[in-house]
Structure formats: C-alpha cells, structure tokens
Amino acid sequence: MSRYYYYLIFINMVANIIASVPSILYESHKEGSVSSMILGLVAGTIIVTIYTRFFNAFPGMTLPDLLEKTTAKWFYKPFVLFLAFMWFFAGLITLATYTFLLIRYVTPEMPVIQISLSIILSVIFGCLMRTERVLYTIELILLVTLPLILFIFYKTYSGNSLEWDFVKEAALYVNQLPDLNSFSASFFLFLGVVNLFMFNRFFTKKQSFNWKHVTIIAIISTLNMFTTYFIPIGYNGFENIDELVYPWISTSDSIRMEYFMIERVLFVFLLFYLGIAFVSIMIHWHVSIEFLKFVFNLEKLKIKGFKLGKFIPIPFFIGASLFTIVKLNEYQLLRLSSIFYNSLIFFFPSMILLFFFIKRSMKNAKQAKQN
C-alpha cells in the first residue's frame, strides 16, 4: 500500500487520543471498556479490510463517482450531501475539542471565537487544495510533529511514575460485557479508512493489499489503543480516572523534562498535537467540501471567469462551526461525540451492502460493454 493510505488511517487514530474517545472509554472503565476495545479492534480491522479492498478494486474512483455510475440521481445526491454533513461534523468535533483545550491551558484570557478562528482560518484554505496536495501537507506536518509526539510517548512509557499495577488492575476488568458507547468509540478509531471515499482518487493504480498490510494496521492500532486507554490509567490511577476531563492532558502534565528549555511536557504535547488536530480537521473538511462540490456542481460556478464555486462552502463552514463552538459546553461536546460515534457503528457497516450493490452493477456494466 502507498504510505499515504496509512496516514489516513493513523491520523484518525492518533488524533482521537486527545479528543473524546478516551473520556468515553473511561466512563465505563469499570464496566466493559476493555472488552469493548478488543471487540472494536476486531470489528475495526475487518471494516478497514473490507473498505480498502472495495476501493482498491476501483483505483482512482471516488465514492460519488461510483454512485453516479450505478445509482439513481434521487438517491446519490441527498446521500452524498448527507455524507458531506457527516464529515463536516467529524471535523467540527476535533475543532471544538481543541478550542476548549487551548482556552483551558494555553491562552485562558482569549475569547473562544478568536481561538477557534485561528484554527479555522489556518485550516480552511487547505481544504480547498487538490487532494494530492492535502496528502503532501499531511506528510510534512507529520514529519514535523510526529517525532516529538513519539518522544513524549516514549517518555510516558519510560517514566518511573508509570504504575503498571494500575494498568493491570484496569485490564482485569476484561471479563465485563462490552457496552455500546465504548465499543463505538473504539470502533471510531478505525474509521480513518472511510476517507478513501474521496482520497481514493489519489490512488490511481491498483495496490497490493494482503494480510501483511492488515497485520501492520492491526498491530499499530493495538499499540495505539493500548496507549490511549492504559497510559493515563498508569499515571492517574484507576479508581477515579473518569473524573478527569482531559485524561491525556493530565497525563502529559505528569511528565517532567528536567533538562530542557521547556519543563512541562504539557505545552510541548499540546502545541505539537495541534499539528495532528490541524491535519485531522483538514482531512475531514477537505472530504466534506469535495462532497459538496460534487452535489452542487460548484466547480462549474463562475463569475467573470473567477471560479467562485469552491469558495461558497467556506463562509458556511466558518459560521456553523463558530456558532456551534460558542453554544457548546464540554459535557455537551462529549455527549454529542458519543452520539455521533454510536451512529457511525450502524452506518458504516451497513454501507457494505451498498458496496456489494455497486460492485455487482459495475461488473454487469463491464460485461455489458464487452458484449
């Protein structure tokens, strides 16, 4: 597989360390989080495999392209519009989480609007770039931020203060029945693959995708999930882990760099994680804007030769996200993301049926052509 494919998957995983996923998992830390995570891991790997295989069969084709060829207009237009909203919302969750984090920890005096505006303005023009350029940007930003983030992960694992007994204690709750919220939260970590709906246009050649690639994804996601869930427990104890609003922030604040210019890891973590959040929002909103372009034929809209079309969604994006962020509080954000994740576990697996349909009609069309 192309390395860009992995970026799509892993950014979604890594970005959610800081978002609501751990908090949702900790809500049922004494019920079924661990078993839900294992279940999520299995289900996630399966869905990654199915989605990748499906899009690999149609190199260079986006989901709207395929729908246009195989389904009726009354179906695919509203459907893609719905998808656009969904992707916008996914980006919005990350944006809101990060805005709250920044206001809590970095610049408490700044107005919310100003903070969220700084993120939105820097991201929004990136969403209009060509798909391949979005991927190149992702790669470069990862290159800048990832080494430091990995270093922080290394610091968390190697620190003396990491109490493995807490981790073991948490892991022993594995015999509880899984519950829906935790399962959908851990399932969501794998859903980076659905960005192929749009990003598949970049992968114009058929890629090799076999058990080796699945294993790589499974291993990395296991590590990621383990880190997401257990490391904060190792640092903050098991009993009251659910009372932390931002478990990972508290964890990164529990690590000290004795010899650096910056002593509190918290700020390094927060500022470099901003890069991951930036990239994550960019991916989601890029896909969303591309869907909108498809639905409303925005590319064709021109005023005096100036392609106005693709700029039309921008004011809506800015307005809607600012409005939501101002209205939302932390708890509502957590609930809203939980509901969003829950809806996804029904939506994306059922998409597979649609894939079967598309595959069959594409095959039929091909045969018809040959005859």
Binding site: R104, K168, Y235, G237, S254
Partner: protein, 373 residues
C-alpha cells in the same frame, strides 16, 4: 491561474477586518505578570475563613548576575475558600498572579488531616497549577516554610526545590511526591500517599527534610520517622543510594547501597488470609568501618547486612500492618492480580492486611570494601 491570486486577495480581505477587530486583545507582557514560586496552605485562626494561603512571589530583577541574592515578595490571605483567598490576593498585587510556575505546594500540618480532599480539588481543578509540582507538609506551618529563605540560596531557584528535584541533593531521607502521584494514591484504595515533611530550623536558618507522613482518607496521618522514611525510600526504590549501618556479631560498619531492587507481592491463602512477600536485593560497598576488614570475607559481611536489613525492614512492615496503612501498595498489587469480581471487599482486605504475615527475602551483596581493606 488567476484564481490563485484571487485566493490571496480573498484571504487578505477576510484577514484584514479580523486583525483590526482583534488586535490588542489579551496581550499581556511577561513583566506584567508576577510568578508564584510556592503556595503554602494553612489553617487560619478565623472560623469563617478557615484557609490561609501564603504565596511566595519572585521579584524580577533586571540581571541575576548583578543581584545574586534572592528577592521574594510574600502575600498572605485568609479566605472562606481557597479561590476566594486568591481573589482577594489579586487585589493586593499590581500585577497578574501567574501560578504556572509554582513548583511546590506546602500544606500546613494541621490542615492536612481535615481538609486534604478540598485542597486537592482546588489544586487539580485549576489548569494552571502544574501536575508535576511537589507537595509537602509544612511544620510548624506552611507559612513559615514558604517565608523562610535559607542562607546561600540562589536567585530564581529557591533552595527548597533542590531537595526534591533529582538534580540537586539526592538524599535517601527525602520522599518526593508530585501532585499527580498524591492524587492517584489518595483516590485509589490499596495504596496510600506519603508526603515529605519540611521542618523549619529557624535558628540555623535552614530546612530539615527527613521525615514523611502517610496519609489515609478519614484517618489520622501517620508520621514516618527518618529511619522509616529511609526504609520506605529503599523499598519503593525512590532513593538512588542508601546507607545501612550494620551492627552485628562484633562488626560495626556502614554499607552504602548503590543499586537496589525490591519486589513485593501478595499471596492469598485460604479464608482471606494473606502473606506479604517481599524480595529485596541490595548491592553496594562498605563505606566506613570501625574494625579492619578482610576482602575475602565480603560474603560474610553481606550475610550480616542481609540480617540487619531484614530486621529493619520487617520492623517497618510490622508497624505499617499494625496501623493498617499501606504506603507500598500491597492492596494495589492484590487488585492488579485478582479479577474484580473475585476480590474480597475493602473491609475484608483491611482485616486481612492487619493480620498479614510477612515473608521477606533479602539478597545483599557487598562488592567492595572501599579503597582500603
């Protein structure tokens, strides 16, 4: 491509009004802040305002080279809640109080027993207080600890910090507890927090940090003597080095342990009976002796050391078991090993812990007699 240019134009068009609207917002220069270096929390005499907060503030000087002597300002304020006290303090100071740099939280001895949880709540809820700040008990009061500047202190780095960070002194008698560690030990059953006690020696103008305090929810804090503190440090592998005085069978020497490892686990037997299994290995050399030593007898000396250490450690454990406090974390070890639905209840555990047997193995090894025999 003309649309690129228009993109830039559009960007500027959007950005310009925003800049004009937002400039000057929340712009506060660093010299308009005053940094808090330590926070001391005491019980006040006032009934209505039970909290007394003392802050030690850095006074910025233009060059530390020119004025190497430390300069601090202090503010003390009573309040009904901690936040109220701080709010009142802000009206005393011409600059913004900045808590982000405070590294040490000293809690007065008398407040600790009653209000540990409320204090914790305040410290954890504020995002600007570092989770890696050290927490200590102040004796006789936090205020006195905070307000004392010992001789020979450097500017910009209070001497007290050197006791706790691993860069300065590495004493075996000092327990270092970070705020996050305190939190997790307080909230968790099965492991109890230990806080260092900072004592003020007014006459000599220095601090003494060699005792510590075990804190248990809803129980009297238990003070560990300096000997117990050392033992605790060895057993929890906190101290990098440790000295043991061995007075056995006519030999009288001092062993310096520079590498130690301790493992402990809980063995559950029938009827909720438990046995604490402790496995310590100590490696070191002899640093002082009353009698001349023979290098070929190192194995014998090691045996002596094992015996001495065993006595010492057993005494510590017996005391802890007796009062039912668990600073090492046997309860946690038990929990990390037993499925939660097969565990005994916390009352049962407490009972079992009080009657626990101790099975201690010590493996001591002296590698050298030092530079002389």
């Amino acid at each position: 491509m003309p649309n690129k240019q228009s993109k830039t134009k559009l960007f500027i068009l959007i950005l310009l009004p925003i800049i004009t609207i937002l400039t000057g917002c929340e712009f506060k220069d660093i010299d308009k802040n005053v940094f808090v270096s330590m926070i001391g929390i005491d019980k006040s005499d006032d009934e209505d305002k039970p909290y007394k907060i003392t802050l030690k503030l850095y006074v910025p000087t233009s060059s530390f080279k020119q004025s190497p002597k430390p300069e601090y300002a202090y503010i003390t304020q009573n309040g009904e809640t901690l936040t109220e006290a701080i709010r009142l303090m802000e009206s005393y100071s011409d600059k913004e109080l900045e808590f982000g740099h405070s590294k040490l939280i000293v809690i007065g001895e008398d407040l600790l027993a009653e209000k540990a949880n409320e204090i914790m709540d305040f410290l954890l809820r504020r995002p600007d207080i570092q989770m890696i700040s050290w927490v200590a008990v102040g004796r006789p009061s936090a205020e006195e600890v905070v307000k004392m500047v010992p001789q020979g202190e450097n500017a910009a780095y209070p001497a007290l910090f050197n006791y706790f960070d691993d860069i300065g002194t590495e004493s075996q008698f000092i327990v270092t507890t970070y705020l996050f560690d305190l939190r997790r030990r307080l909230k968790e059953d099965g492991i109890d927090p230990v806080l260092p006690i900072i004592e003020v020696k007014k006459k000599e103008s220095h601090f003494k940090v060699n005792k510590s305090m075990v804190l248990v929810d809803k129980k009297e804090p238990y003070e560990l003597s300096s000997l117990y503190t050392q033992t605790f440090n060895i057993l929890s592998m906190n101290a990098p080095i440790a000295d043991l005085i061995i007075k056995e069978e006519g030999e009288y020497f001092n062993a310096r342990v520079d590498s130690m490892e301790s493992k402990y686990r809980v063995n559950v037997k029938d009827n909720n009976k438990i046995e604490l299994e402790v496995d310590v290995s100590l490696i070191g050399y002899i640093s002082e002796s009353k009698n001349p030593l023979k290098t070929q007898d190192l194995a014998y000396y090691s045996k002596l050391m094992e015996k001495e250490a065993k006595e010492k450690f057993t005494e510590f454990f017996e005391e802890m078991i007796h009062i039912g406090y668990d600073p090492i974390g046997f309860g946690l070890d038990y929990k990390s090993r037993t499925l939660h639905n097969r565990r005994m209840s916390s009352e049962e555990w407490e009972e079992a812990y009080k009657n626990a047997g101790i099975n201690m193995t010590i493996n001591a090894e002296l590698k050298s007699t030092g530079s002389i025999k």
